[in-house]
Amino acid sequence: MGVRVSSEWLNSCSGCEISIIDMGERLLDVLQVADIVHLPALVDSKYFGQLGDQKHLSLPEADVGIISGGIRNEEHLEVAHEMRRKCKLIIALGTCATHGGIPALGNSYTPGQIMERAFSTETTDKPDAYPSDGVPAMLEACYALDEKIKVDIYLPGCPPHPDQVFNALVALVQGKPLNVPTRSVCDTCPTVRKGKGEVKQVRRFLQAPQYQGPDEPLDRMRCLLEQGLLCMGPVTRAGCGGDAVTPRCISARVPCRGCSGPVRHEGNQLLDMMNALASNGIDFKSIPNRPLLLRFSGAHSLLKPAIHERRSS
């Protein structure tokens, strides 16, 4: 019998699961040594028994539990606790699980504000009450997994590169230590840095950065932050490029948006970026929307509703 693997997705988009499938043929190798006992995207195991007649949610036991997505409602919370009980090891897969991810942008608002908008758009027939029958209640915020359960291994990324997922699974099966990136995107970026840019204001990404043409190698292009673009490379964990290392977005001549979360797990991308901008001589006040610096890491109480909204909710 191989290593038993159980996988769940919570407040997520399924991109992490597709990244697992994007291992390509390596997936077939993984399936040789892993028994998938639960994985809703691909396997038909059910919470309430295969006949749907059990009273309590129950998941199979496993050696490794992989969870993507943060915790946004009561069902997510229940599933996360059950995964923790039944799995020897929990992997937080993807930045939603490690830091809240994009959905934690919702933490700037109360659940009431979120529902108010969702159920009053111009095409929506406004209901008398918000849905509450048979749907799990929303929690106050979107939480990273480790705010609610113990996490053993963090694999951030939006999504994590298939190479990272594969390397992690291989290390687990072989009982070897995991090689998780600890440097920043900047540390792995080949663009040319001179130390300080000439630009004092953040330039919004409305036109292409300057470079000589499509043939110009990346190591001849000027650092995007020094060109004034809001590149989150200095405050973002490396690894998005997988074994190829080179940061993905920058190789498309697009600034890093920070999708792997902070360099250190407990880092704060907003505060760290203020420092990075200051040392580049760029005025922090010229950023059009500050919460956006936490667009991938708004859990852990870093993004919160305005105080008056918290009081009234």
Binding site: D22, V43, R72, S132, P159
Partner: protein, 449 residues
């Protein structure tokens, strides 16, 4: 004693949903529903954000079709800012979207749907999955995994990031295509077309005939349909006008900027997902299996139903064969799978057409953009249906308001109806087996939610 059955989670689909079935004292169907379990709040939390950042934020609505959200969003922002993408930028966007469709349909057919047909609806759930297929038919499985991976890596290598893309930008695309990239991708897409043709032949010979009875009965309902067509009425995935068809086959065409005049969204107390319906029909909304009101369907079957023809030759030949068998509009729910494979052929043919046009390598891929106040509706056909992003911006180009109608949601009402129909037809005298419950799920799976 009355009984409640909970199928949770619905598996081999792409989101979070569950089915509840209520039986009466005699063990017969009383009612059923599909609950959509989560609300993330995109329509709220994009407010205040610079519009040009939205295409990279809203793609996180779906990790399976991120290109669709990314591009619908780019189109909406183009319109808010009053910019027209350069011709090469426009073509690169359509190329990415079309190839993403080609990948998505292989994923759905082989990884999600096929276990029901190849392994069988009554098989043990431990083998009724892609792993079971890999063990039962290793040669085909290897070919599937290789081909899907090749398509996915075309997108990944060229655009640099395919799950949660960043390559589309307001005004066009972030990087041009080099000639050697064009020839490389063209060669690969020709291979994918061969595999698409193999797949539809394989399904027509080995899969659909075996399940003809199920096709004629399982989850069958009568509804209208929605999809995008070009100026000539031909099927289109990337751009065009919206066609809303009634169950009798009559239809209206409209500009997506006016979508709110035609579509509404109904709210039920038991679902976070809202239920789009045809407001323009003036018949309200009702999830009544025998007399549905306002209900239309989206996604593959809907698109090939509303289209007068397919725009590429091989796909058109397949459509003609399909229509000769099932008519227009075809209503049987399991035909979504068949329609999906016709669209797979189209997506490959269309990608090849775009790549054969040398102007795709024009380096002028991005038009100059200035933020401004405006409103824009962006729309593409996502694999799961007509996807609408509607934004307003202030004078600094920050989002003041967003309304999203996501492809899958058009089918939330129809999925409920199909599940009600299937449960009513399949459950008698308290006889509930895994096979029966899986068949009820198959009525959902056809919609690829």
């Amino acid at each position: 004693m009355s009984q409640t059955i909970t199928i949770q989670p619905i598996t081999r689909i792409e989101g979070h949903a569950s089915i509840k079935i209520w039986l009466d004292d005699a063990g017969n169907y009383k009612d059923a529903r599909v609950n959509y379990m989560s609300l993330r709040g995109f329509e709220k939390f994009v407010e205040g954000k610079p519009a040009e950042e939205l295409p990279d934020i809203v793609c996180r609505i779906c990790g399976i079709c991120p290109w669709m959200h990314h591009l619908a969003s780019n189109k909406a922002v183009d319109r808010c800012f009053g910019v027209t993408p350069t011709p090469a930028g426009h073509k690169l966007r359509e190329l990415m979207q079309t190839i993403a469709h080609a990948e998505d349909k292989l994923l759905h057919f082989y990884f999600l749907a096929a276990p029901d047909f190849v392994i069988g609806p009554d098989a043990d759930y431990a083998v009724r999955n892609v792993v079971g297929i890999a063990k039962a038919n290793p040669e085909l499985a290897t070919q599937v995994v290789k081909t899907r991976y090749m398509v996915k890596m075309i997108l990944d290598k060229f655009s640099r990031k395919t799950i949660h893309p960043i390559a589309g930008v307001p005004g066009g695309f972030c990087k041009p295509m080099l000639e050697e990239e064009r020839t490389d991708i063209l060669g690969k897409m020709r291979q994918v077309l061969d595999f698409a043709l193999f797949t539809i032949d394989f399904a027509k010979k080995n899969v659909f005939p075996k399940y003809l009875d199920a096709i004629k009965t399982l989850g069958v309902i009568t509804t209208g349909f929605i999809g995008t067509v070009d100026d000539t009425g031909a099927h289109n995935l990337y751009d065009g006008k919206i066609r809303l068809m009634k169950p009798d086959g009559s239809y209206v065409d409209f500009d997506v900027q006016d979508y709110a005049d035609y579509l509404g969204e109904h709210v039920e107390p038991w679902s976070y997902g809202k239920f789009p319906y045809a407001r323009v029909w003036n018949e309200g909304f009702a999830l009544d299996v025998d007399h549905p009101r306002g209900i239309y369907r989206a996604n593959t079957l809907a698109r090939i139903n509303v289209a007068d023809r397919m725009a590429t030759p091989r796909a058109q030949a397949e459509l003609e064969e399909f229509r000769a068998l099932f008519g227009r509009p075809a209503q049987a729910t399991l035909l979504y799978h068949y329609a999906r494979l016709i669209e797979e052929v189209y997506a490959c043919e269309r990608a090849i057409e775009i790549l054969e046009d040398p102007s795709i390598t024009d380096p002028n891929v991005r038009a100059q953009v200035e933020p401004r106040a405006g409103r824009g509706v962006g729309c593409v056909e996502a694999p799961r249906g007509t996807l609408i992003h509607d934004y307003s911006t202030d004078e600094n180009g920050l989002i003041t308001r967003a309304n999203l109608i996501v492809g899958t949601t058009h089918n939330l009402g129809p999925m409920n109806l199909s599940v009600k129909q299937a449960a009513r037809a399949l459950i008698h005298d308290g006889q509930v087996t895994e096979g029966v419950l899986n068949r009820i799920e198959m009525a959902v799976r056809a919609y690829d939610p």
